[in-house]
């Protein structure tokens, strides 16, 4: 039974990876059309996705590490190229996101998921201003805490709020380019 489950998981992961590769290919083609996110934004996103993947994998320790990394990458974000209003908004977002990341760095998994929900909102609002280099998918699970969203680089659903207990619960809500 467990072997079969493992096999299934492996297959679906390989599938996801392939799809991701395909997406990357498409992305590179119309890169020029895209709003470019800056390097600092990309570091934040990398850490955010490391956190998301850790929660998908029910890995508290890795999620905590990602939380610590996020605190650092949020701190080093450079706002200077944005307008005054945008800077104000970004300062607010970063302050909020930092607090949630700090809590994620020192909490048990259910707490980490609670904070991840708000953090996801913060990061979504952030890229609405900064843009991102790659296509992102805003995904949504109607079951967790009256409905909760998160961001992913892959179209395929891997639920960070439930992990292995409900890995595929959710749908793509929006494609962010």
């Amino acid at each position: 039974m467990s072997i079969a489950a493992m096999l299934l998981l492996t297959i679906s992961f390989t599938n996801a990876q392939e799809k991701e590769k395909m997406n990357h290919g498409e992305m590179e083609m119309d890169h020029s059309k895209m709003k470019m996110g800056d390097a600092k934004t990309e570091v934040i996103l990398t850490d955010y996705f490391m956190l998301k993947d850790a929660l998908v994998g029910d890995d508290t320790k890795k999620a905590a590490q990602a939380g610590t990394k996020l605190v650092a990458s949020l701190k080093s974000f450079d706002k200077s190229s944005y307008t005054k209003d945008q800077q104000k908004e970004l300062t607010d977002i970063i302050e909020d996101a930092t607090e949630h990341s700090e809590h994620i760095a020192e909490s048990a998994i259910d707490h980490q998921r609670e904070h991840f929900k708000i953090l996801s909102k913060d990061i979504t609002d952030m890229i609405a201003i900064t843009g991102s280099k790659s296509t992102l998918y805003q995904q949504f699970c109607p079951m967790y805490d009256k409905g909760s969203a998160w961001l992913s680089t892959s179209e395929e659903i891997r639920n960070p709020y439930y992990g292995s207990s409900m890995l595929k619960c959710g749908k793509v809500q929006k494609t962010i380019q």
């Binding site: 607010d92 977002i93 302050e95 909020d96 607090e99 949630h100 609670e114 708000i118 913060d122 609002d125």
Partner: protein
């Protein structure tokens, strides 16, 4: 052997007396800033009282100190909690937060009360009136949820 215990007891006593003279900062203020949670929100009287009694000692600029606070090392223990509490949430400075930050804080308040993590056990042990009954928990969570959804 007996002598050793005696010496240790004397040292402990000296230390205990000595630390009583270490000055500590007190979290006390008569001024309620215009940014205070109660002033900017329409908070029902019963909830106001509950928040004051159960939360404001560590989450505002004014603590009603119990008598034993004057005795070390309890003072340090308390000061640590107050400092930490105010860093997480200061009701006196509520309105200086943006809507995003307020929502985050309100969410945390709900989760902390729901899970029974707040008020701290070490606090309710002495402040019996700070405990939330089941009805009080529901009442306060409803209020905070409404406030959160209105932002």
């Amino acid at each position: 052997m007996k002598k050793a215990i005696k010496i240790i007891a004397i040292i402990a006593l000296v230390v205990l007396v000595g630390i009583q003279f270490v000055p500590t900062e007190r979290n006390q203020s008569d001024i309620v800033p215009v940014t205070d949670f109660m002033l900017v929100n329409n908070v029902p009287k019963t909830i106001q009282k509950k928040l004051q009694v159960s939360c404001y000692d560590c989450h505002s600029n004014n603590t009603r100190y119990p008598w034993y606070n004057k005795v070390q090392p309890f003072t340090w223990f308390l000061e640590g909690h107050i400092k930490e509490g105010k860093a997480e949430l200061n009701f006196n400075e509520w309105d200086s937060l943006s809507n995003r930050r307020k929502k985050s804080k309100l969410r945390s308040i709900i989760k902390q009360i729901e899970s029974g993590e707040m008020p701290l056990d070490s606090y309710t042990l002495i402040h019996k009136d700070a405990t939330f009954s089941k009805e009080e928990t529901n009442e306060i969570i409803n209020f905070i949820t409404q406030l959160k959804d209105s932002l």
